[in-house]
């Protein structure tokens, strides 16, 4: 329809005169309302204050001055299944195909601090990741991979200190100095209580372990990121983008505060804190989330926590595409979802990226599926041209509006969490857990009402799905791993095991840094489960009150 009024009013009149599509929502996937159009009229920006320049405060446009023109993001595919032998093979396969960083997925018993022959491990060994019981497994995992030349990420939280110690010991055995070992240990126990739910100890001693690791790494392993503060799992549990942003940053501030309480200087440890976000399907909302995250972190670190070193202000993060967005129906379509999500992560300025494989709603990925996932990143990096200009969407009225809106929602959550007495108190009241469950249920209801379309699930279904070739974990691997850990126990020096374990227990009851006693245990081939048991004895375990 032609308009008679000039400018915004005229457009608005014409817009309202034309019918909108009915039945589907126009809000973001997280439920943030969208206007049909953004213009200078609804976006207020002070360029230097709100955006700034890449590599300078507040880092909204990126943490490095040259971003991907200097160096591409690290293509870091997460892998792990079976025993250390199978995963070592997968690592070598990924390196051969252009993966530039390693990332280890551990199985459920390892995540929960049980050895493979523990009764609770039955049926779970090597299923969702690799089983690591002792230094002997870690030696196999990195066999033929020189630790001085790779950076390794380890997705491990409650027993993170033990796995970090195993990694350090493999470095020692390979003759690589600790100061040259690079990588990231996830160690983010707060998001375990909130979302991923693989915990062992109560929050108090868990936080102490985290601070022990941060303190020890700052001194001994300066190239290691001792914590990767993770929104990924919060989002996978069904949160909105704003909740992912807010709960993750609140967790980050809680670690900063715990380190300050220990007496550490903020500029000693903050530069090594790193983050891990989800890349979901709502394209602009995701890009806005990363930009808002950088701005909030820089502002709080500088203004609230008094960090002076600009490296303390900048938020570096890893991104993984959303597992929760993958469908079991018409699984090849997941390739397209993942490509779009990965593009959002790149346009949001990620430092490293994992792209999910298209078969992961069904099982762990096959080699073929993993290669396609990696190729997706390579196409974005080398064929699309999006790497040529830094923060190319910066200045988009819509994106800047969303960035500020997510930032506003995050600060609102910070206030609510503070009002509840902080992150741990809020967790104990199930606050974050409830907020996430509400969001997950709202989204599911919208899908079931057809207000959100999921291609192949509630629209465009096929009558007959083609069966897909999936990865099968050989059940015999569990027995093989059980025999491996029992063989380790049989051949080690048991007097040394008893002595180092006793020292660990004694240290745990006091307040000295636990990394050295854990390293001593590791060198004596004390298993991860035995160390965790010693700490369970001293500290007890965590149980949540189930809510839904």
């Amino acid at each position: 329809m032609a308009t008679t009024e000039p400018g915004a009013a005229g457009w608005r009149e014409s817009y309202e005169a034309s019918p909108e599509r009915e039945g589907e929502l126009f809000s973001t996937i997280s439920g943030v309302e969208n206007e049909p159009l953004y213009s200078p009229e609804n976006v207020e920006l002070d360029y230097d204050r709100d955006l700034g320049w890449p590599g300078t405060y507040p880092f909204t446009r990126g943490v490095y001055p040259s971003m991907y023109r200097g160096r591409l993001w690290t293509m870091r595919q997460f892998a792990g299944f079976g025993t250390a032998e199978e995963t070592n093979e997968r690592f070598r396969y990924l390196i051969a195909h252009g993966n530039t960083g390693l990332s280890t997925a551990f199985d459920m018993p390892t995540l929960m601090g049980y050895d493979s022959d523990h009764p609770r491990s039955l049926g779970e060994v090597g299923r969702e990741g690799v089983a690591i019981d002792s230094l002997a497994d870690m030696e196999t995992l990195f066999d033929g991979i020189p630790l001085g030349d790779v950076s390794t990420s380890m997705t491990i939280n409650a027993p993170a200190a033990m796995l970090l110690a195993f990694y350090a010991c493999v470095g020692e055995l390979q003759g690589v100095p600790l100061a040259r070992l690079r990588g990231t240990v996830q160690t983010d126990i707060l998001k375990e209580y909130i979302a991923q739910k693989e915990w062992i100890f109560p929050p108090g001693p868990s936080m102490r372990l985290v601070v022990d690791m941060i303190e020890w790494c700052a001194r001994e392993m300066p190239l290691m990121h001792p914590v990767s503060i993770s929104g990924y799992h919060i989002r996978e549990a069904g949160s909105t983008a704003a909740q992912e942003l807010a709960f993750t940053l609140a967790d980050g501030f809680a670690y900063v505060e715990a380190c300050l309480e220990r007496g550490l200087d903020v500029d000693e440890f903050a530069p090594r804190l790193s983050f891990f976000f989800n890349a979901h399907l709502d394209f602009f909302e995701e890009i806005a989330k990363y930009r808002a995250a950088r701005r909030i972190w820089a502002t709080q670190l500088r203004d609230k926590y008094g960090a002076k070193n600009p490296r303390s202000w900048l938020m570096r993060f890893h991104t993984q595409t959303a597992g929760v967005s993958l469908t079991a129906q018409q699984p090849e379509v997941n390739l397209i979802r993942t490509a779009i999500e990965a593009l959002a992560a790149v346009l949001g300025g990620t430092q490293s990226l994992h792209t999910n494989s298209f078969d992961e709603a069904l099982a762990l990925p096959t080699e073929h599926a993993v290669r396609l996932a990696l190729r997706t990143q390579q196409v974005i990096a080398h064929e699309t041209g999006v790497v040529n200009t830094i923060d190319p969407l910066g200045g988009s009225y819509y994106l800047e509006h969303l960035t500020s809106e997510l930032e506003r929602q995050a600060y609102e959550y910070f206030d609510r969490i503070e009002h509840l007495g902080g992150v741990v108190a809020a967790i104990e009241e199930n606050f974050q857990q409830r907020e996430i469950a509400d969001a997950a249920y709202r989204y599911q209801s919208e899908v079931e009402k057809g207000q959100r379309v999921v291609v192949g699930v509630n629209r465009y279904q096929l009558d007959e799905e083609q069966p897909l070739e999936i990865l099968r974990i050989d059940p015999a691997l569990e027995q093989k791993q059980v025999e491996r850990v029992q063989a380790v126990r049989a051949r080690r020096d048991s007097a040394l095991v008893q002595a180092t374990l006793a020292e660990l227990e004694q240290a745990a009851a006091g307040d000295t840094n636990l990394m050295e006693p854990i390293l001593a245990c590791s060198r004596a081939y004390v298993t991860m489960g035995e160390m965790c048991d010693a700490l369970r004895e001293t500290w007890g375990t965590w149980r949540e009150t189930p809510v839904f």
Partner: protein, 131 residues
């Protein structure tokens, strides 16, 4: 049948992925059922004990850890040992199709994969419990 359907929603094993379990628990409650959610990291023994104590008509097991072929048969066996084989067992999660067939053969009433609408699960359960 008289009274509300009583369902135990359970997370066996070490798997912490509880988004699905919580959504199902709410959907069943909203559909008028009495829902008992066990919380995480339950052993088969704990789940069966809860089912019996709560006099449950059905147990919904949510599992995404790949350990379903170990944990679910154990739950079925314990239900039988305790004379509770009439409890309807549903399984939801990432269950490959041939595993799903095997679980049905062993006595699981229904297996629901990713993307299954909660309304379908509600209807299935109503049918299975009344039958």
């Amino acid at each position: 049948m008289a009274g509300k359907i009583r369902v135990v929603v359970a997370k066996p094993g070490l798997d912490g992925h509880d988004r699905g379990a919580k959504i199902i628990a709410r959907a069943l409650r909203d559909a008028g059922m009495e829902v008992i959610y066990t919380g995480l990291h339950q052993t088969p023994e704990q789940i069966v004990e809860t089912a019996i104590q709560e006099d449950a008509d059905a147990v919904g097991i949510s599992i995404l850890s790949g350990a379903h072929m170990t944990l679910v048969p154990r739950i079925l066996e314990l239900l039988r040992e305790n004379g509770a084989e009439d409890v309807v067992v549903l399984v939801g999660g990432t269950i490959p199709e041939d595993d799903a067939d095997e679980l049905r053969r062993q006595g699981v009433a229904g297996v629901f994969g990713p993307g299954a609408p909660t309304s379908e699960i509600v209807d299935f359960l109503k049918g299975a419990v009344t039958a």
